[in-house]
Symmetry: C2
Subunit: 415 residues, 2 copies
């Protein structure tokens, strides 16, 4: 039997045990994992050094090396993440609905673990720890398949976590990591119906597209954000400027940053120029529509391709629109239904935008950068769902649960 199938089978057996552990037992395990990670800092950094050496030898980019590299502070931050998850309320066992039927049946809808979660991600060792913590807290077993560039690091981290679990009520088998770095192990996971209950991809667009297009196991899609900010005619210029600069330039590499700025044609010409200058001063390259380029001679012209591009960089497409309807039509055509914002003092326009734009998060007078589990107060984030089923937007612990109906009777039969 293949590594993937064997380990998923062990995870499934462990999931049945996890279904019966208490919140206190899960929290103890998370704290033990945190302590053990810190205790094993040296051995983890040693393993990480092998991955980094290989990365340098094979020409890994400096930014990827930075994502991969661990030091005592980063390991402490991972441990701290586990401690925070331990403090969060446990959604498992929550009674979501409770009702009695006229025939005397008592029906309760209860939160339960999903079962076995498959996690497919890239060379970020912190995802290994994050995913382990979030899944175990919600009573799920997890099969991890990280990027091959972090193979030694992830392997050592999981060894350390297994050692921690050995002294707890949680079965170490609940945490599995796939060592086969070949693409075939991903392909196999995607078809593992009956053993994996869900696959969650975390990473770049090509990884996510591969999962979505090839999985027969249910997927929670976390993905691309071509996010817009629409500056309406009545927007307060200082607010529009602050929101636009924050949405674009505070951290351009993430999915909730702005990629396209839409500006009402009747928005003040001087205000528009100041807004553009503020973006430019923040290091942002502007690619504009005809009207934009006419107003900002230093801007480059945008191509059709620009409107659909998630730059994840200090680049912004800018388009002048005739009003709310044209802005919304643009967003419908090019947006990815992630995070969309209107800056306006017009309550009716704000209401229409929030109602009519179909996205995970719609904002009135606030930066799209707030689409985040921590910013929403969830205390943890598995990712930001860009699909409409199961979970949409920032996903906290409840997104890693399912439900079941418990029905108690006294001999009822159906007539």
């Amino acid at each position: 039997m293949s590594e993937v199938r064997t380990k998923a089978g062990l995870a499934k057996q462990a999931a049945a045990v996890l279904n019966n552990v208490t919140t206190a037992q899960k929290n103890e395990a998370l704290l033990a994992m945190a302590d053990r990670l810190v205790m094993e800092t040296d051995s983890i950094i040693l393993a990480n050094g092998k991955d980094l050496q290989r990365g340098r030898d094979t020409g890994m980019s400096v930014s990827l090396q930075d994502r991969l590299a661990l030091d005592p502070q980063r390991i402490e931050a991972m441990a701290e993440g586990l401690r925070q998850v331990a403090e969060l309320p446990d959604p498992v066992g929550d009674v979501l609905e409770a009702f009695d039927r006229p025939n005397g049946l008592s029906i309760r809808k209860i939160r339960v673990p999903i079962g076995v979660v498959g996690m497919i991600y890239e060379a970020r060792p912190n995802v290994t720890v994050d995913a382990a913590g979030l899944c175990l807290k919600t009573g799920n077993a997890v099969v991890l398949r990280g990027g091959s560039a972090a193979l030694h690091t992830n392997g050592r981290i999981v060894e350390v976590l297994h050692a921690a679990l050995a002294d707890t009520a949680l079965p170490p088998e609940a945490l599995q990591i796939i060592e086969n770095a070949d693409r075939s192990s991903v392909d196999e996971m995607l078809k593992l119906n009956g053993l994996l209950d869900v696959v969650i991809p975390r990473g770049g667009q090509s990884l996510i597209t591969n999962v979505v297009m090839n999985a027969t196991v249910p997927v929670i899609e976390t993905g691309a954000g071509v996010c817009h900010t629409f500056v309406d005619q009545s927007a307060l210029p200082a607010m529009a400027e602050a929101i636009a600069v924050n949405a674009k330039a505070q951290r351009p590499s993430v999915c909730n940053s702005m990629e396209t700025l839409l500006v009402h044609a009747a928005y003040g010409e001087a205000d528009f120029a100041r807004l553009a200058e503020a973006l430019r001063a923040a290091g942002v390259e502007i690619r504009g529509c005809e009207q934009t380029v006419r107003r900002l001679p230093w801007a480059k012209p945008a191509s059709e391709e620009d409107w659909g591009t998630e730059y994840n960089d200090y680049v912004l497409s800018v388009r002048v629109v005739d009003g709310l309807d044209e802005a919304m039509a643009h967003i419908r055509r090019y947006g990815t239904m992630h995070s969309e914002c209107i800056v306006t003092e017009d309550a009716a326009n704000a209401g229409r935008f929030l109602q009519e734009i179909d996205a995970a998060a719609v904002y009135h007078n606030a930066s799209t950068r707030f689409t985040d589990g921590f910013e929403f107060g969830f205390g943890a984030e598995i990712g930001i769902s860009t699909q409409k089923l199961h979970a949409r937007g920032p996903m906290g612990l409840p997104a890693l649960t399912s439900t079941k109906f418990k029905i108690t009777g006294s001999g009822q039969v159906r007539g």
Copy 2:
């Protein structure tokens, strides 16, 4: 452009309109649809006659002909279903969560339509009307792809519904039916990411398996039920008998009927014999394990294949088990996580069974036949989900909704 892509595109445009209609407008449309169906009874029966003639000519089984055949009573029943859906509360717009953040952001999680639902089903014309009503009530556009054997009937029903919608606030384009009876139209729907937000299969196992294994669009799986009833040592014999006979024989063709009876080895021998005789008297053929056959010489021996089979018929596999743990192990191995029941007077065993068995619905002392949206009091049912994401068990109107976060601020930016 293909029929499927063209019609899905029209549905997507209509979905944007549907997002803004009121509950009253949707209910008016549902009532208009009901009235029109009744008014057009003759023309629908005429179209149905063509399908029935073709069915008889091509050797369609009598039971399939019965499912397909419409008469005035059945059309009135479809209309009555629409009227009932009109009376149900509209989940769209419900505020599921509302909270303010320390930075002053006000966040509300709102129920919204999913968008465009693809429905793939067999030759049951009532599904055409059901799906149209449930989807429109929840603000969704729907692309219907019914079985080719009902092509004339479904086509005429949709014409009638379109005529009804023409006088309402709802765009008729929200309701699309695929006329291409070739398998290729199903294949195309399954890959229509970006146009269809979800596909829901309704029908036999091969239809569902095809959808699950080939769709890149998210799927809500409704499916097979290999449901068990475990008669514990302490079960009251009269109750065990009533529940078992009801679960098996009240309507064997449906997914929530029992396929396997598990009996505690220490359950009274005479009670066991009486229970088996009651099943036999109800017309049930028993295929038993060794011990069962020893006790019931008239029973046939069960093969390994029997334990995993959904008979959907007056056939039952019966196994004697050593106790609760062996019963649960059997269910874990052969069950489809649909509906599982324990009959017992032992509260601890009942508690363990309800907690440890991982199924959409777990019963103590009641027939598995109650797993049904109407029996649960939901007033409607799109199907019974056997997956763990999004919805599990009987699905009412909320299962046809998604959510979005509406965030209102006063210029907040992320620090």
